[in-house]
């Protein structure tokens, strides 16, 4: 009855730590300490238990058949593997996070496109000292004076002068 070989994926904690944003760092540290504790506990336990010396006991114990009975039952004993309840939950979490991450990345790329557009506008703008007022109103629509709403000079509320 030896321990089974489990498939543990090697995790690069350094690379992981780089990707953690600063506001989630405490959670990451908690996860790391917990994982390290679990790994240490696992490493401290030997894989297979100490074997029982049946011949010695057979010679030592006077009651006939007891040792044989024990031996038979011991060898026939199957220890059940602990049931895995969490992996499905984790997989579900992973799928959900994938979905939300792809949504976020989409929004992020849209934002990047917007920023790039604005940046291009600024880059391709004519310099201020060669602009006319009309050019200024074209490039920055917020500078356009509303001559319909305020027909008299200065065409904007006095408080905004």
């Amino acid at each position: 009855m030896a321990g089974r070989r489990i498939a543990l994926k090697a995790i690069d904690w350094v690379a992981f730590a780089e990707r953690v944003p600063p506001n989630q760092r405490s959670m990451f540290n908690a996860l790391k300490t917990r994982s390290d504790a679990i790994a240490a506990k696992l490493a401290s336990l030997p894989e297979s238990p100490t074997t029982i010396d049946w011949s010695h006991y057979r010679a030592a114990v006077a009651r006939a058949g007891m040792v044989d009975e024990f031996e038979k039952k011991f060898k026939a004993l199957q220890i059940p593997q602990p049931v895995d309840t969490q992996t499905s939950a984790i997989t579900a979490q992973e799928a959900e996070s994938n979905k939300s991450a792809s949504a976020y990345i989409e929004g992020s790329t849209a934002r990047i496109a917007q920023y790039e557009q604005q940046l291009d506008k600024f880059k391709n703008m004519i310099p201020f000292d060669q602009m006319t007022v009309d050019d200024l109103n074209d490039t920055f629509p917020e500078t356009k004076l509303d001559k319909v709403k305020h027909p008299y000079w200065p065409h904007k509320p006095i408080a905004e002068l």
Binding site: M1, R4, D12, V20, R34, S35, P49, F70, M125, F128
Partner: protein
Amino acid sequence: MLSRVVLVSAFLNHALSLSLVQASRSLHTTSQSLAPVPSLPEKGGKVRHGIFPEEIFQLLYPKTGVTGPYMLGTGLLLYMLSKEIYVINHETIAALSIGTVIVYGVKKFGPDVAAFADKLNQDKVAKAQEVKDLAMTSLSQAIEEEKKEQWRAEGRSLLFDAKKNNVAMLLETNYRERLHMVTHEVKRRLDYQVALQDLNRRMEQEHMVNWVEKSVVGSITPQQEKESIAKCISDLKALAKSTQAMA
């Protein structure tokens, strides 16, 4: 036609009072070319002696050389004075004095006033430029940050790997603990049996020894005791004699 001229002059006067010069296309009547409007000149047309445009001098240069316009001016002045087209009166003196003062004032304070006005304009442009630079840097920074966040989000699989690993490790630990517990308990029971046997054996031995001793001591009768004491005394006497002989 004349109204258009009036409009143009009014327009130009209005334009000069604004800080940014207006050169709009509002007077373009035909929709011809969309070529960019050429930028307006920085300074006005060149003049000589403050009033007379340079173009007149250039116009007359081929025919009359350098002194041509001056001769023209002198001739015109003398003509107007002699024919009394321009009459010298008190207003002339006033005009000359006021003109002198004005010319002196402009020559002395002109550049400072011009610099001040230019500075006002420059400040506006500088502020606008600052706003533009700030906007550009913040935009590029925002783009960088978004890219970084995307890179961060790509690392999410590591988290779930770690979690799954943890779960697997916990299960394995639990399983090993169970194994160990089983072996340990079986061993304990067997050891108990062995220890129990040993204990029984020892107790039997001790009890037997005690019992034998007790029976032996009890079986010594008074007669035997006297005999053994007499034997001991005679042995002692013999020993005493032998030691006395030796000493």
